[in-house]
Assembly symmetry: C2
């Protein structure tokens, strides 16, 4: 019988036992303030903190129900020990590479009477949830739009806030399994220096999921990288051009999912997005629900992939 | 009293008189088989052919009604002399540059039991109607996706059909007022040789409307043009890169309108589309209705233009 509460550190087998009849495609999220754990039973969840955790889980066939994890004994202090169980659907065809544009943070803050710069921290946990879902579904590569050099024209307190959110996101990712590359213009003072090591792809944990994170990204910087280095040869230009752009390590995008209702790329990776399908969600990013992404994937299943041919 | 029929050539004042109380933002289309005339009363419409014409007009406040043009006397042979009068709406804010992706021709043909290659000719008249609407609304620049080098992977009879449709479109445009540039890889045998003169922008008529027509366009050809010519200098790269791409004369796109339900760029001008708003119409392109574009423009009115700032 697993126990969750102060001073108790269930080990993965204990949790799996506690979880009882969970399916391998059910996803467990455990978060408490800025601490988080996540995993599927098959991944071997471990607890690294002895504080109280809020437990949230995805599970099959209980889309809206809130219930306790079967077999998990509640400690007295564990007053947030209920779990919302949400089905993790299966899909006939999933995109290999999905790009996410998590827009609408500032509008979300304004709707709540917060200052615009107070919005970005609320965008972190949804990002980790997306990471978990992508990993659970077997998506191979994901790209997240952090901020672009265009965004840095905003007031300095906003710029500072989304720069910090990007640093925090990478800090969080560094504890997970990801092959992480930060793509952006790091010659600029607007690029957070803490992220410079990730300008070369870093394998974190077992690195199963390729994650590209756009930080101080600039589409013009990206493309003109190809122009800077090339001499007058025309032979082999196709390979040469694609190998020389600033984002050469980012593959072709199959699906772009954008929150916040805008129907535009806003400068996201023009080369990789040439054939991508776009799916727009009207809800604002901090109001992320897993169902948003599931709906995008259900829509994507019905799209052909012709690349113009 | 104007007259339309065999052997009668009304002059512009006669037509304006015949049109009676038409407003300056009402649009007149006159088509008969492959002959066409169009204009607004203010443009001074002239008739260049003494054949019978079918008259179709946009006019105010009669969105679905079919009626005769007031004051135009019908000749006996003029059995198609009824006009469908459709309001040409006014907009608070219109895009400066709109790109059109006229997709769905092949599905349209299949729905009618036609061969796929029989669809493209039916896409011509809608294109001219869009030209007329853009001109009437004061849109400054429009780009039309003819075909890309990706499309030429299709069966040769289809490729031949859309190549011919592009030649016919330019032939039609050459009788109108347009500043026409064809953008595409003309080093390839897939580029129709008749269109080579338009690889340099040609002013046709009074050239009020800038028209860019993508013919054998290839996003990679476009971007790598910048790489081919540039030596190792880094100074002034922003200007230099933008001036050296293959589509350097095509300006930033404000709005992309796509028919046929697909939500993707399909390789359309990646540099110019980085900030563009996308509007998707589920109807197939040969089923074009002016209301499609008006709906797109109504939606566009409510979008902000932030360019990421």
């Amino acid at each position: 019988m697993g126990k969750v509460g102060p001073g108790i550190n269930p080990t993965p087998p204990e949790l799996n036992e506690a979880a009882g009849d969970w399916k391998t495609n059910e996803l467990l999220w455990i978060t408490k303030n800025d601490m988080r754990m996540s995993g599927m039973p098959a991944w071997g969840v471990t607890f690294s903190d002895d504080d109280i955790w809020t437990i949230t889980a995805f599970a099959r066939k209980l889309p809206t129900m809130t219930q306790r994890i079967p077999g998990v004994e509640q400690s007295e202090a564990f007053d947030e020990g209920e779990v919302a169980l949400v089905d993790l659907p299966t899909f006939r065809r999933i995109p290999r590479h999905v790009a996410f544009i998590p827009d609408g943070n500032r509008r979300w803050a304004q709707n709540r009477g917060l200052r615009k710069e107070e919005s970005y921290a609320s965008g972190l946990e949804p990002g980790f949830q997306l990471y978990d879902i992508c990993r659970a579904l077997g998506i191979e590569e994901l790209t997240v739009y952090g901020f672009t050099s265009d965004n840095t024209k905003r007031p300095p307190e906003q710029t500072a806030a989304f720069q910090q959110a990007c640093v925090d996101a990478v800090e969080g990712l560094s504890k997970l399994d990801a092959s992480l590359l930060v793509v952006g213009n790091d010659d600029s003072p607007l690029f957070p220096p803490e992220l410079k090591p990730y300008r070369t792809r870093q394998v974190l944990g077992n690195g199963t999921l390729k994650v590209n994170f756009l930080v101080n990204y600039d589409w013009h910087w990206d493309l003109s990288k190809a122009a800077i280095d090339v001499s007058g040869t025309t032979s082999g230009m196709r390979r040469s051009f694609m190998e020389r752009i600033g984002s050469s390590e980012v593959s072709r995008i199959d699906l772009v999912v954008r929150w916040g209702g805008r129907r535009r790329l806003s400068g996201l990776l023009p080369v990789q997005a040439v054939y991508a399908d776009f799916y727009i969600i009207d809800d604002l990013w901090p109001d992320f629900k897993p169902e948003h992404f599931f709906n995008a994937l259900r829509w994507y299943e019905s799209q052909d992939v012709s690349l113009g041919g």
